[in-house]
């Protein structure tokens, strides 16, 4: 038994490191003297970033290992989950670094963000590797509970508090519905292990189908809420707007990637084999993907707050990523992972710039972007490049990501879906271009440069922008890495 646990733990190093890191940071924060607050924060952030880098290294080390189910099949470590973890760790690193220069978080708070983001990361990792219903639920809850707190980090801000409550209420409800659905699935199939469920599923027929369909629908509610797809997306704009910007950037990467990962895993395991119930699930995903894209993009048009615009656009992007799930095959997963990697870089860069501007000018409406090209050319060029990339214009990597998604759905001959996705691309281009227009064509109120954007910050956004550009032209290696990250069922 002990031996088994130790072997399992050897595969579980990234997660264990994260847990250690979180505990360590918590103790470091608690044990530090009340005076000299600023110094302690710097240290904790420094340690946190180093810790995350170590975790990243551990993940990369795990990537090439053969897929293994550990902890008595509760958790599966395969290249797929490891790649998702790598994306999440990178996203956390980016957001943490972003929070260092954010007024809301770094100046007004202690190191809560640093600590809690590691906690959410643990939840996300658990979710990405979940191999049974219980681990899945555990992951979702770990992820969610800390997310609620993170949303309300701006303590004396009413919208932030409102967002936190909204998130918690919505989350509690969907988690309940999900658990209800899970219990029915368990009642029907008699097991919580994914692999055993699949075999039981194919043996079922007749009446149990109706119950199962409804229970799977309820099960989907929990996942759908986490990735904020239609019709469970209502919380996301308010939460995104209420939360401090680093939190928003964090939310649009880590919980989302974890949710997408679990959606892929569940869809592939249960419905990838072409069981009779799969038709319902695929139909459901069809409609939901199409609606998610459309609702996200159409609603984004009317937004004046850039944060909110990015929130709605991220709903649109989730819809596009879901298209890769609809096809239920390995190339679909490959396309989603590529999309996830690219999306992470684009989101980080976009939020980085938005955060800085909104800190400087106290608001995040599109007006603060007016004439940015005169105030800070580098920032403006990066932002416009990222917007082009988000819209899917070559030669930026967003185009390649979109191309791959289009490619997999057309391979499956889902032309209707492809047309909807194409129309959505045009809609999204419209609001991205409007922001780009404000940045480039708008007349600046004053000629003065954007203050406080130091050389280091410039280097960081540049580093984030390089992959956005380079992956648009030389994308084969990353594509191969995504292709290597196949899902293993055990």
């Amino acid at each position: 038994m002990l031996e088994q646990l130790l072997i399992s733990a050897s595969f579980y190093i990234p997660e264990l490191l994260s847990i250690l890191l979180m505990c360590f940071l918590l103790m470091a924060e608690a044990s530090h003297s009340m005076e000299n607050e600023h110094g302690s924060r710097d240290k904790i952030y420094g340690l946190g970033i180093i810790g995350l880098l170590v975790i990243l290294g551990a993940c990369i080390f795990n990537f090439t290992k053969a897929p293994t189910a550990v902890f008595y099949n509760a958790v599966i470590i395969d290249p797929f989950s490891t790649l998702v973890k790598i994306i999440m760790v990178l996203g956390t690193l980016g957001s943490v670094y972003l929070s260092r220069s954010s007024k809301d978080i770094y100046t007004n708070l202690k190191s809560e963000f640093m600590i809690m983001s590691v906690g959410v990361l643990i939840g996300g990792m658990l979710l990405a590797s979940a191999n049974n219903m219980l681990t899945l639920y555990l992951g979702i809850e770990t992820l969610s509970i800390l997310s609620y707190v993170m949303t309300s980090l701006k303590r004396d801000d009413a919208t932030s508090a409102e967002a936190g409550i909204k998130y918690a209420l919505y989350g509690g409800l969907t988690a309940g519905v999900m658990l209800f659905g899970m219990s029915h699935i368990y009642g029907q199939l008699g097991t919580i292990q994914f692999a055993e469920m699949v075999t039981k599923l194919s043996a079922l027929e007749g009446q149990s189908f109706v119950v199962l369909m409804i229970s799977f629908l309820m099960f989907f509610t929990g996942i759908g809420y986490k990735i904020s797809c239609f019709p469970f997306h209502m919380w996301s704009p308010d939460v995104y707007q209420g939360a401090p910007i680093p939190v928003t950037s964090f939310f649009s990467i880590v919980p989302k990637m974890a949710g997408i990962a679990v959606l892929i895993r569940v869809s592939m395991i249960f419905f990838g084999t072409g069981s009779a119930i799969a038709v319902t699930w695929i139909g459901l995903l069809h409609v939901i993907a199409a609606m998610t894209m459309t609702v996200g993009n159409v609603t984004a048009i009317g937004q004046s707050s850039v944060k909110r615009l990015l929130a709605f656009s991220s709903i649109g992007h989730v819809g596009v990523m879901m298209l890769g799930v609809v096809v239920l095959n390995e190339v679909g997963v490959q396309a989603i992972l590529f999309y996830g990697i690219v999306y992470m870089f684009m989101t980080l860069a976009a939020f980085y710039i938005t955060s800085h501007l909104s800190d400087m000018y106290g608001t995040d409406t599109q007006d603060v972007f007016k004439g940015l090209i005169y105030k800070h050319p580098l920032m403006a060029i990066v932002m416009v490049g990222v917007l082009f990339s988000l819209a899917g214009v070559p030669p930026f990597s967003g185009f390649v990501a979109k191309f791959n998604i289009f490619s997999v759905i057309i391979e499956k001959k889902y032309y209707g879906l492809a047309i909807i996705a194409a129309l959505n691309s045009v809609i999204s281009l419209y609001y991205y271009m409007r922001l780009a227009k404000t940045i480039i064509f708008g007349e600046a109120d004053s000629e003065e440069k954007v203050p406080g954007f130091t050389g280091l910050n410039q280097t960081i956004i540049f580093v984030m922008f390089v992959p956005v550009l380079v992956l648009g032209v030389f994308w084969e290696s990353i594509m191969n890495i995504s292709g290597y990250a196949k899902i293993f069922i055990r």
Binding site: F388, V393, P394, P395, F399, F403, F406, S407, I410, E411, K413, Y415, G416, A418, I419, A422, S425, V426, L429, Y430, M433, R434, A436, K437, I440, F441, W475, E476, M479, N480, G483
Partner: protein, 506 residues
């Protein structure tokens, strides 16, 4: 030797980097770097012409190496008789546009850098033999255009820039769906992104199912791709972005837009749409011809109604590109030859018109033939600006299609080619020529004759720089009006192949 095409394609990008590296204080440095780059590029295109073998039936100067191997995407470029006229035109117009942009004062470095980027992407579209590469260039072209219209344009430039971008993107995203569908229809093989390998009606028997309805692959994706190219041409009813983009764009950008960018659309018809979907092309030729006819007549009437001279020329572009579409729809040797020739000739004559309007605008700062309050914007220019008037007459008559000037030959060939297939449409289309003559002459009368407008007395005639960049165009429209055979020989083989291919599916 094979590197020649690569040089033509990438030299502008090298020039762009050069422009960006010039010191900010010395604006002239950026101008001279651009001038040198575009001039060398133009000379290279002429060298390309000299080395071009008019009798070869395959792609010449082809370069091919793998780009994304797992998707069979190649960096594959080459030229044939359809591409070469456009290549030369592109080289020439950018060189002249650099000269005409000498007076641009706003962010000079960025302006010329974007111009060079635009040139490279246009070359890329014409050279690409790989669908993915083609699409990338096709879309990359939008980025410099967006900024060039949006930053250096007229009063309503932001609207025009966004409309242009969105409209084209709308068309091309459907084209992308078509490209990917072709990729899978050919089984993801080595040639799945190879434009030439798709040609020859390989998809006639394929079927697709959308929302439970069955469609013919060929006929469905014909329209997907059609949308992308038709918006670019633009054919009625997709032309509404064009007048805005033209009116708001700075002179050089208008010239490039009308001169080469619109040709990318018709080039798409000739290189991609018709050879890949020959059956659908035959089946729908009447629809294409009717749309072309509407463009001719409607564009001409719209032009007649304009009070803004630049808008007038913009609508005349719609009308003239309609002739190209008619020629393409005819699918006969004369018609197709006429269409390709018209692409070249319209490129030169419209470029002249836009350059001339730009020259006038620099003096008058308005373009009203009749101002909104009803008074005349210009008048009696012929007595004030004799050199300008002379050049304007050549440009105008070339645009009108007067015998002896280049426009006549191509239009005559188009009518000859289409008469057998679309007799009624030909007869109506000839009326378009008449209306064309009417609006141009009427415009000329109102601007150049009559009482001299007091404002016009202060205008200076064309200076040496302006004369220098107008003269080559004058020579071209006259020489190719009398002696078009160099151009005709160039395209003969390629057009012949295309016509033969289409005839098999008639």
């Amino acid at each position: 030797m094979n590197g020649l095409l690569n040089w033509i394609l990438w030299l502008p990008i090298i020039g762009m980097v050069g422009v960006l590296l010039t010191p900010k204080a010395k604006e002239n440095a950026a101008r001279y770097v651009t001038l040198a780059t575009t001039f060398i590029t133009f000379v290279l295109t002429l060298i390309l012409w000299c080395k071009f073998d008019n009798t070869a039936t395959t792609m010449q100067f082809a370069v091919k190496f793998p780009w994304i191997e797992s998707f069979n995407i190649n960096y594959s470029i080459g030229v044939d008789g359809l591409t070469l006229p456009m290549t030369i035109l592109n080289g020439l117009l950018f060189f002249l546009c650099t000269l005409s942009s000498w007076t641009v004062e706003k962010s000079v470095k960025s302006y010329f850098a974007l111009i060079l980027m635009l040139q490279a992407s246009v070359f890329g579209v014409f050279f690409s033999l790989d669908f993915f590469l083609f699409y990338v260039f096709w879309e990359v072209m939008l980025i410099p255009m967006f900024f060039l219209i949006g930053i250096w344009g007229g009063e309503n430039r932001e609207y025009a820039a966004i409309k242009f971008f969105l409209y084209t993107f709308f068309g091309s995203i459907f084209m992308l769906v078509g490209i990917i569908a072709l990729y899978y229809a050919t089984g993801k093989g080595v040639d799945s992104f190879n434009i030439l390998a798709h040609q020859g009606g390989k998809f006639v028997a394929e079927q697709v199912v959308i929302f439970g309805h069955s469609f013919s692959f060929e006929h469905l994706f014909f329209w997907f791709m059609f949308l992308g190219f038709a918006i670019k041409v633009p054919i009625f009813p997709f032309h509404t972005w064009l007048p805005h983009a033209h009116v708001q764009a700075p002179t050089a950008v208008s010239v490039i837009l009308a001169g080469v960018l619109l040709k990318m659309g018709t080039y798409g018809f000739l290189r991609i749409l018709y050879p890949i979907f020959p059956q659908a092309a035959n089946d729908y030729s009447t629809i294409v011809a009717v749309l072309g006819l509407i463009s001719v007549i409607y564009g001409a009437f719209c032009a007649m109604a304009q009070d803004d001279v630049k808008k007038l020329v913009a609508y005349s572009s719609v009308s003239h590109m309609g002739f190209v579409m008619l020629g393409i729809a005819s699918m006969s040797t004369q018609g197709m030859t006429g269409a390709v020739l018209q692409m070249f000739n319209h490129g030169t004559s419209t470029a002249m018109m836009f350059l001339l309007i730009g020259i006038l605008y620099e003096r008058s700062h308005h373009r009203w033939i009749v101002r909104p309050d009803g008074s005349k914007g210009f008048g009696g220019l012929s007595t004030q600006l004799p050199k300008y008037t002379t050049v304007f007459i050549i440009g105008m008559f070339a645009s009108m299609g007067l015998p002896g000037l280049s426009g006549f030959i191509s239009e005559a060939l188009i009518f000859l080619g289409m008469y057998n297939r679309f007799t009624t449409i030909t007869v109506i289309a000839v009326v378009g020529l008449l209306i064309g003559a009417a609006y141009l002459l009427w415009m000329f009368k109102r601007m150049f004759f009559g009482e001299v407008n007091p404002d016009c007395k202060e205008y200076e005639d064309m200076n040496a720089r302006e004369v220098f960049y107008m003269v080559p165009l004058c020579i071209i429209v006259i020489v190719f009006g009398i002696f078009p055979s160099p151009l005709l020989n160039m395209m003969k083989v390629s057009v012949g192949q295309l016509v033969d291919l289409l005839a098999k599916f008639a």
